[in-house]
């Protein structure tokens, strides 16, 4: 199986980011926002987006003067060999934790909501093996598949959200500030890493056809995803009220089980296949990023040969918790809180060091 070494266009890159972050609304991410900001979780989402705009711009600025280099190579250039590798290794470990916990959550969704009689290990094996196959084909293929299914996943999401709006009650959004400004800001500050994938996307910057495409793709997805996630968070509250939505682990899946399209019931079977494909793409991309970073740190050029090994480790770590709902949600909350300050500070530090080194003087590739 040969990997293609071509480049991605803006369409493929944007589609990957849309599926990567857009699917977060369908897992247990909303629960973390609702538990802190109650019915004002959507304002927290807006604050997260606003807070991360500066680090994202700074990251793009740094990437713009190091065209052709990925995030790890820029880390090495800016921080030096030792600290640069340590920064990348920290990102790798946090990435490992994210993949293991996210995959556990997705397997739990599939196992508790759809395939209740299938053993967890079987669901895990299928999910990760399909994702590993996608990752092995390379980022260009992941981008092509993401673009292929992008339209269908978004249409089904819009249909689901439309019917949620029809059945929802807008009065449940009030009081508009929920637990108060303090609670909203605290939740937003702790959950900044929901948008952390934008930072990790720097790893594939050299794979996008031009830097202009990369920058436009980032801004476009940033804007649309902010609207998408905010609207979805509002609609879940409108449908369930915050007292219920707070204790629902997977509000999106409860929503598609709840809504009816005309005389059609059990419409979750309409949404599930598209969500599943989006999930495969998401984990394919995560595995690819992980081996790319691992290969970068240990100078392994043919890093795609690492995919089977890391996939086995992900599966074996992912099946460890006996009660994923409790164990994973606690650990995932902690990981989000650890990642949040790091993802906010790191681009700023990178920009300051690049500025001190004089990389921006002629704005040309260094």
């Amino acid at each position: 199986m040969k990997q293609t070494k071509g480049k991605m266009g803006i369409r493929e890159f944007a589609a990957i980011l849309f599926l990567l972050i857009g699917t977060k609304i369908t897992d247990d991410t909303p629960t973390y926002l609702y538990s802190g900001a109650k019915n004002a979780a959507w304002i927290s989402m807006l604050l997260i987006s606003m807070a991360l705009i500066i680090p994202t711009i700074l990251l793009l600025k740094v990437l713009s003067v190091h065209k052709g280099k990925n995030l790890h190579e820029i880390n090495l250039y800016l921080f030096g060999k030792v600290i640069g590798n340590m920064v990348s290794f920290t990102l790798l470990i946090l990435g490992l934790l994210t993949i293991v916990m996210d995959s556990s959550v997705y397997v739990d969704i599939i196992g508790t909501m759809y395939f209740t009689k299938t053993p967890t290990i079987a669901i895990f094996a299928v999910l990760m093996c399909v994702s590993a196959y996608g990752a092995k084909k390379g980022v260009e293929h992941i981008g092509s598949v993401a673009w292929l299914v992008f339209f269908y996943t978004k249409v089904t999401l819009i249909v689901a959200l439309f019917f949620t709006f029809k059945e929802g009650n807008s009065k449940l959004l009030f009081p508009i500030l929920g637990p108060g400004v303090g609670g909203i800001v605290k939740t937003a500050a702790q959950k900044l890493s929901i948008f952390g994938d934008f930072f990790y996307a720097g790893l594939i910057a050299p794979f996008v056809a031009t830097f202009k495409d990369f920058r436009r793709g980032m801004f476009l997805t940033y804007l649309i995803l902010t609207v998408e996630l905010t609207v979805a968070l509002m609609l879940f509250v409108m449908l369930f009220d915050f007292t219920s939505v707070e204790i629902l682990n997977y509000p999106f899946h409860e929503t598609i089980r709840y809504i009816q399209i005309g005389f059609l019931t059990n419409v979750e079977t309409l949404f599930f296949p598209f969500w599943l494909v989006a999930t495969f793409i998401r984990f394919s991309f995560y595995i690819y990023l992980f081996v790319l970073l691992l290969g970068g740190i240990f100078k392994i050029r043919e890093f795609e040969y690492l995919i089977p090994l890391v996939t086995v480790i992900f599966i074996l770590l992912g099946i460890a918790p006996e009660t994923p709902l409790i164990t994973i949600s606690e650990n995932r909350d902690m990981t989000l809180q650890v990642l949040s300050p790091l993802l906010f500070v790191l681009p700023c530090v990178m920009w300051i060091i690049a500025k001190i080194r004089g990389d921006f003087k002629n704005e040309s590739s260094v």
Binding site: F298, Y305, L316
Partner: protein, 52 residues
Amino acid sequence: MTYTIYLAVIGVVIYSCGFALSLWKQKNKPGAFVIVVLSVIALVLPYFTYIK
């Protein structure tokens, strides 16, 4: 099921050790060492996470 898991893990470990060997021959000793360490982790993990 346990045997199936171990069989799959051993297959992947053999594949990865072959890659580690090729890295060793290319003088990338840290890379080869990391793959061997990951392979050992993959071999012992089922005992702690699946069999228990």
